[in-house]
Amino acid sequence: AEVRISAAASMTNVIHELSAQFVAQHPDVTIVPNFGPSGGLAKQIQQGAPADLYISANTKWMKLLVDEKLIAPGTKAIFAYNSLVFVGQHEKRITALADLPELERIGIGTPTSVPAGQYAAQALRASGLYDQLLKSGKLVMAKDVRQALIYADRGETDGSFVYKTDAMLMTSAKILFEVPQNLYDPVAYPIGLTSSGAANIEAKALYDYIVSPEAKTIIAKHGFSIASH
């Protein structure tokens, strides 16, 4: 039987590994992943694209599907958390948010559309830096976290706000500091069984596996945290 997962692109590696583990236990199950932007996946599901599981990097898109009754009631669950870090070239002596005004250009996901940017903006506001940085034109908006990371990695920005998990993709940049978790809401990754997926026993089994304690070690291995701070 087949299980179709629509998952946010940032979960690619985790889902691949979890799937492999699951298939090892259920050899008759084929898992068909579909990685894309969270919003795009939500819209595909709205339009009747076949999907059993939806994994979003953003609680808002999940909420939308839940409100439209496209997610089986009670199946929405947070199964992973992430945290924000600030990455950049090592020679810069930046160790805390307060040092940021010294920098010329700071990469950040567009707060209105990129969740990571939203959290970063929240943290900056909490430390009273956001408006100052924005007005002085130091914030470089990226379309997604991945792009903010590239900017930092290539030295186009002096540093960027990214998720801790994304920081693993860096080649030359380093994590300069972790953003204090009390400054922003928890970064939660929700999973849900779609209303059509609820009828698929294997899908239900995979869902159960992903939210199970067993899976948590794998999730943690990829840099996610398994519980809210």
């Binding site: 579909n34 894309g36 932007p37 009747g48 076949p50 991945r146």
Partner: protein
């Protein structure tokens, strides 16, 4: 660095399938519409042309959303096809449709420019020699703008090889089913250390388009000779 995993090979095969199908399927319609735009005397020309150009003007992702709305469960075309149990979204058909739509304006423009350059006298001569409209269309008009048609097809093929935005929305990014080269590249860039693999796939794309380019040049030259 230049080795392709079986997974990559699948993506290459799918990309080829999509690009070839999209090009072949779109060409007849492209020729017809180019002809209408080049020689038609109706009022609606500018509107038709504007609509055809839409996929060029709009970001591919938006085109993808619009296609999703049409081919979705409740969409105009989707609900129609559903009755015949035809599923478009998340299948290779969707990838082909996305490529066709995005490449269509390029195809039509190319062919149209070629058609407008034909001396209508040839057409007249053919008619008086007993060739009907369709006959002279196929034996005179088409061969006389074959260079432009090949140019348009090459453009369309190349565009299909690079099409990402609309495909990822309409067809999804499903390995072995709809994951074409650009989608595979996208996936690699979300993976630590995936850059070199992404680069390899880029090179494959480039080689493919070069091959098609040289092929179309060769065909055109042969045609010119007679």
């Amino acid at each position: 660095m230049l080795t392709l995993s079986p997974h990559d090979l699948q993506a290459v095969a799918l990309s080829l399938k999509v690009a070839v199908s999209a090009t072949i399927l779109a060409t007849p319609a492209g020729i017809a519409i180019a002809f209408f735009l080049a020689f038609g005397k109706m009022r609606g020309k500018a509107i038709v042309e504007g609509i055809i150009n839409l996929p060029l003007v709009l970001p591919p992702v938006v085109v993808g959303y619009l296609l999703l709305l049409s081919f979705g469960r409740n969409g105009f075309i989707g609900s129609l096809l559903n009755r015949f149990d035809i599923q478009i979204i998340f299948t290779l058909k969707a990838a082909i449709i996305a490529s066709m739509v995005v490449g269509f304006p390029l195809l039509v423009r190319s062919i149209r420019i070629g058609m407008e350059a034909i001396d209508p006298a040839y057409f007249k001569v053919a008619r008086t020699l007993g060739a009907g409209w369709w006959d002279s269309f196929f034996t005179i008009a088409l061969p006389l703008c074959s260079r432009a048609i090949y140019a348009g097809m090459t453009l369309m093929f190349a565009r299909s090889l690079g099409e990402f935005g609309a495909t990822v929305i309409l067809a999804g990014n499903i390995p072995g089913v709809t994951q074409t080269i650009p989608l595979a590249i996208y996936e690699y860039t979300s993976t630590p250390g995936g850059d070199s693999m992404a680069l390899t796939l880029c090179l494959v794309s480039i080689v493919l388009s070069f091959t098609v380019l040289l092929l179309s040049e060769a065909v055109t030259k042969r045609l010119r000779k007679g």
